[in-house]
C-alpha cells in the first residue's frame, strides 16, 4: 500500500516538474537516463524518474522563491568538468540551485553529481534521497571514477566550514581543501569556478552550538534568527566563470597545489564581489 502511495506521489510530482519546465525541456531531460539498468538505476543509484519527481519543489524554489538568475552558464565545457563553488546557507540549497540551473538552463542539460559529506550515508531518508538524485559520498575514488566517465561534478572545497559559517563571515571564502585540485590534475579535468550570491544571507546564523553538534554527530549546529535553518527568500545569482585548466603533478607538495587552488579561489571571490556590486538588495 505504501508502495502504491509513493508511486502515486512520484507520478504527481513528475507531472508538476514537466508542467513547470515545458515539453521541450522535459524531452531533453529524458536523454539523461544514462546507463540505467532494467530496474531504472545507474550503478551509483541515480534514478531519472525519481530525480524528475524530486526536482519539482526545487524547480519551484528556483523559479519563484529564490528567483535564480544565472550568468555565463554557456562557459560549461562538454564532458568531464569540476565545478568549484562557494558554500553557505546552513542548508545546501546552493547545491540544489546549481543542480537545477544545469538541468534547466544548460544546453544540453547536465545532471550534476555533487560530492556529499561522509555523514550523509548514515542518515535515514536523506541517504536514499541523495543516492537517487545522483549525489554521492565525496571520496577521491568516487570522484575519479565519475570524472573518467565524463560527468560534471560539483565540489564545495570549503565543506562544512562554508555551509555552517556565521553571519559576520558572509561572502568571505573559508579555507579551501586541496583534494579537488589533485583530482583535476590527475584526470586532466577543467575547473569552472562558480559563485553563488544570495545563499549567504538565506539563513543568518549567530552561533554554532558545538557541543550539541558533537553530541548529535552533526558537523555543526547553527542557531539562526528563526531558530531553524530555514532559508529566507533571498534572490540568487549564480555566476559561472571561464573554464580554468591546470597542469602539473597531482602528487606535488601541498604549497604548490595551494598556489593553484588560490587562483581558483580568487576567481570565485572576484565573481562574488562583482555579483554583490551588481545586485540591488538581498531580496530582489
Amino acid at each position: 500500500m505504501l508502495e502504491r502511495l509513493s508511486d502515486r506521489v512520484k507520478k504527481e510530482f513528475r507531472e508538476w516538474t514537466e508542467h513547470m519546465v515545458g515539453d521541450e525541456r522535459s524531452r531533453r531531460l529524458q536523454a539523461l537516463a544514462r546507463t540505467e539498468n532494467e530496474y531504472g538505476v545507474d550503478p551509483f543509484g541515480f534514478n531519472l524518474d525519481y530525480s524528475l519527481a524530486a526536482m519539482a519543489p526545487f524547480v519551484w524554489l528556483y523559479r519563484h522563491y529564490h528567483r535564480v538568475e544565472t550568468f555565463g552558464i554557456e562557459n560549461l565545457p562538454p564532458g568531464r568538468v569540476l565545478l568549484i563553488s562557494n558554500h553557505s546557507g546552513q542548508l545546501p540549497m546552493d547545491g540544489a540551485m546549481i543542480g537545477v540551473a544545469l538541468l534547466l538552463e544548460a544546453s544540453p542539460p547536465r545532471a550534476i553529481r555533487s560530492m556529499v559529506e561522509k555523514w550523509v550515508p548514515s542518515l535515514p531518508f536523506v541517504s536514499t534521497f541523495m543516492a537517487r538524485v545522483g549525489q554521492i559520498v565525496g571520496t577521491p575514488e568516487n570522484c575519479r571514477r565519475l570524472l573518467e566517465s565524463e560527468e560534471a561534478i560539483l565540489v564545495f572545497p570549503e565543506g562544512t566550514r562554508g555551509i555552517s559559517k556565521l553571519w559576520p563571515q558572509r561572502y568571505q571564502l573559508q579555507e579551501f581543501g586541496l583534494g579537488f585540485m589533485r583530482l583535476a590534475l590527475e584526470t586532466n579535468t577543467p575547473i569552472v569556478p562558480v559563485a553563488v550570491v544570495g545563499a549567504e544571507e538565506q539563513a543568518p546564523a549567530l552561533v554554532d552550538i558545538k557541543p550539541l553538534a558533537k553530541m548529535l554527530g552533526f558537523p555543526a549546529f547553527p542557531l539562526t534568527v528563526t531558530g531553524l535553518p530555514l532559508p529566507l527568500p533571498t534572490k540568487y545569482r549564480i555566476y559561472f566563470g571561464e573554464p580554468m585548466r591546470f597542469s602539473g603533478r597531482a602528487d606535488d607538495e601541498d604549497n604548490e597545489l595551494d598556489k593553484k587552488v588560490r587562483t581558483v579561489k580568487s576567481a570565485i571571490q572576484s565573481m562574488l564581489n562583482q555579483g554583490l556590486k551588481e545586485r540591488r538588495g538581498v531580496f530582489w
Partner: protein, 308 residues
C-alpha cells in the same frame, strides 16, 4: 592417471555446483567433512577434515594441477574457537600442502564481505581497499584472516599461481547463506530510510568464475567478482513480492540482538550493516583479465533465491 583438481568444501551448494560443471572436463578429487549428496561417479571423494594428517595423503598420492579452496564456513551459531580453527588452521594446512607438493595453481574463495559495509565506503571498492569488515563485525574476523593468508601465500610463492576471488553475495535456489536466507523472508526487515545498492551473483556464475580461475593461465592475485550489476535493495524486495517491514535503525540493533540471543532470528545484529550501508565492489579487473561474463541477468539472479 590425469592430473587432478582438488576441491575443498565440495559438499556445499557452491561446491556441488562447481563439481557438476567441472567433472566433465577434469578429474576431480573432493575433500569435505560432509558427505557429497548426489555425487557424480567420476568424482573421487575424501570425507575428512583438512586439519587432519590424512588430508596430506591426498596430495602425496596424486598429481595435482590445481586446488580450489572453498572449505570455509560461516555459521554465527558455531563456537568462535571451532569456527576460527576450522577456517584458519584448515587454510594454513592446505596452503602448506600446496607449497610442499608443488601444486601449480591455487584458487581461494574469499568474499566481497571482507571490505565490510560502512557509511564511509566509496561506491565501488577496488581490490586494494582495506579489509575493514571486522572493525564492525568480529564474527567475520577469520574470513579476513583466510583472505590474508592466501594473500601472503601469493607473495611468498611467486612460482605458484594464486588467485583469490572475492565474489559479491552469492544467491541461488538452495544456497543457505545470510543474504539468500534474508531474501527468502516473506516479511524481511529493512532499515527505515535506507535503501543501499546491492550486488548479487548467481551461484552458477560464481562457480563458473571459480572454474575459470582454476583452469585459465591468466588470472593471478586478488579479484573482485561482480554479477549482473547493482540494484537498490527495495527493488529486490519488490521483484520478489515481499512486504518489507521498515524498522528504525536505532531500535533494530538491540531488538535483533535479543531475537538472536533467544534464537528467534538467525542473523547477528552486525549483519544489519549490509541492508543499511554500501559494500559494493568494482569487478573490472576480473573482466579485463578473464573472458568471463555472468550468464544470469539481474532479474534471473534475484528470482533464483526463490527457486525460479
Amino acid at each position: 592417471m590425469r592430473p587432478a583438481v582438488v576441491v575443498t568444501g565440495i559438499s556445499g551448494n557452491l561446491g556441488r555446483t562447481l563439481a557438476k560443471l567441472l567433472h566433465k572436463h577434469e578429474r576431480i578429487i573432493g575433500i569435505d567433512r560432509r558427505p557429497f549428496v548426489g555425487r557424480p561417479k567420476d568424482i573421487e571423494m575424501h570425507q575428512l577434515d583438512l586439519r587432519k594428517r590424512k588430508a596430506e595423503e591426498v596430495f602425496r598420492k596424486n598429481d595435482i594441477r590445481a586446488v580450489i579452496h572453498m572449505g570455509i564456513m560461516h555459521d554465527p551459531r558455531m563456537s568462535e574457537e571451532e569456527h576460527h580453527s576450522f577456517n584458519v588452521v584448515g587454510t594454513t594446512r592446505l596452503l602448506e600442502y600446496c607449497a610442499r607438493y608443488r601444486v601449480p595453481k591455487v584458487v581461494v574463495l574469499s568474499s566481497a564481505n571482507v571490505y565490510g559495509p560502512s557509511p564511509d565506503n566509496s561506491n565501488f571498492l577496488t581490490e586494494d581497499a582495506p579489509l575493514m569488515a571486522a572493525s564492525r563485525f568480529s564474527g567475520v574476523r577469520d574470513l579476513i584472516e583466510v583472505d590474508m593468508l592466501a594473500h601472503g601465500f601469493f607473495w611468498r610463492h611467486p612460482h605458484i599461481q594464486t588467485v583469490i576471488l572475492r565474489p559479491v553475495h552469492i544467491v541461488g535456489p538452495t544456497i543457505k547463506n545470510a543474504p539468500s536466507t534474508y531474501l527468502r523472508l516473506r516479511h524481511p526487515w529493512i532499515m527505515a530510510g535506507f535503501d543501499p545498492m546491492v550486488q548479487l551473483i548467481h551461484v552458477e556464475d560464481a562457480a563458473r568464475a571459480m572454474m575459470e580461475a582454476a583452469l585459465r593461465p591468466e588470472p593471478r592475485g586478488v579479484y573482485n567478482v561482480v554479477g549482473p550489476g547493482e540494484v537498490p535493495l527495495s527493488s529486490i524486495h519488490r521483484e520478489l513480492g515481499h512486504a518489507a517491514i521498515p524498522v528504525p535503525h536505532p531500535v533494530a540493533r538491540p531488538l535483533l540482538g535479543l531475537l538472536f540471543k533467544y534464537r528467534l532470528a538467525n542473523f547477528p545484529p552486525p549483519e544489519l550493516d549490509h541492508i543499511q550501508f554500501l559494500c559494493n565492489v568494482d569487478g573490472s579487473r576480473w573482466l579485463q583479465d578473464v573472458d568471463w561474463k555472468p550468464r544470469y541477468s539481474m532479474r534471473e539472479t534475484i528470482r533464483s533465491v526463490v527457486g525460479d
